[in-house]
Symmetry: C2
Subunit: 188 residues, 2 copies
């Protein structure tokens, strides 16, 4: 059992518990117990509860950003936008608890550094695709790309959580189709 394994086990336990109860209400004792390690081990590995959470955010935001960047494939920019939306849905399908933690703690001034990273790395993927769409004439030239990126990201984030709670059985492609229809304004 390497140190890296221990850290991952603690990450897993922490993200679940914090998603259920929030950061403040989650005790280090409970995290250690669910992870199957001693409380002292958590402090040995991370130093403090705050440092553990900061490391957890950085780790998770990194994975999310990679997933979004990798998903950004397609012929035309707007196809890539659709693909990134699907990528985000898939990511939160797999790492559901993280979606809740992001939503709950993301805008807290306390985690300023993590918020900055999220904006630059994860939202950045949306912003880039949208800029390409503007450049290709697929979106109006004066679109506020930053706001639009936040809008799409927040939309998918909210729907991901709602999905888990109210309709976990619905295939993810159906959800994706709904969002894409909405974004493209397909009237039929």
């Amino acid at each position: 059992m390497s140190r890296a394994d221990t850290r991952l086990k603690v990450f897993g336990a922490a993200i679940e518990l914090i998603a259920e109860q929030g950061y403040s209400a989650t005790t280090v004792e409970a995290i250690a117990e669910r992870a199957g390690v001693a409380k002292g081990t958590v402090f040995y590995n991370f130093g403090s509860k705050e440092a553990l959470f900061a490391a957890l955010l950085e780790h998770s935001i990194g994975r999310l950003s990679e997933a979004l960047a990798e998903a950004a494939e397609g012929e035309r920019p707007l196809d890539r936008l659709d693909a990134v939306v699907l990528g985000q849905l898939r990511f939160f399908e797999q790492y559901g608890p993280f979606a809740r933690v992001l939503l709950a703690e993301m805008w807290r001034t306390a985690w300023q550094e993590a918020v900055t990273q999220l904006r630059e790395r994860a939202l950045g993927v949306y912003a880039r695709v949208l800029r390409e769409a503007v450049a290709a004439g697929e979106l109006r030239a004066d679109l506020d790309v930053e706001t639009a990126a936040t809008a799409v990201f927040g939309m998918v984030l909210t729907v991901s959580i709602e999905r888990r709670v109210t309709r976990p059985d619905q295939p993810i492609e159906r959800t994706h189709e709904t969002l894409v229809d909405l974004l493209r304004g397909r009237l039929r």
Copy 2:
């Protein structure tokens, strides 16, 4: 100073502090202090910290739902959708801290009742308008109205918070225009 006034003062202090720090991290003592009352007064009026928060959620969700319902005006259904989006933006412009609290605490199983109310009353306004749009042939007949309603609501909620943090000076109409363009897929 009536009892109702005291309750409103406590509501105001609580929503601000909980938006800043989260529910668990906010102490009743701090709420009382900011409200300018004694700690005992809070318990006298609400019974417990949990009951205070439940009352606060119900109060705020009621106001939000009213604001959305009143905003739903316009000739065609999709015009009404635009109007509701603007109504939501305006509401959170005024009651900003509540937006953060909603986002952070809304999906916690602890506040099941409030979540149900939010879904039925606030999201219900979006669902209704979207159903009318489908009926009028302005949206495809097989649209998943519930998911779409959540998507639009979450989109506006996220953007409202991001707006406050990064671009408080931008006129709300500009933000509205961006969101509506996105929803209508106006290419230009």
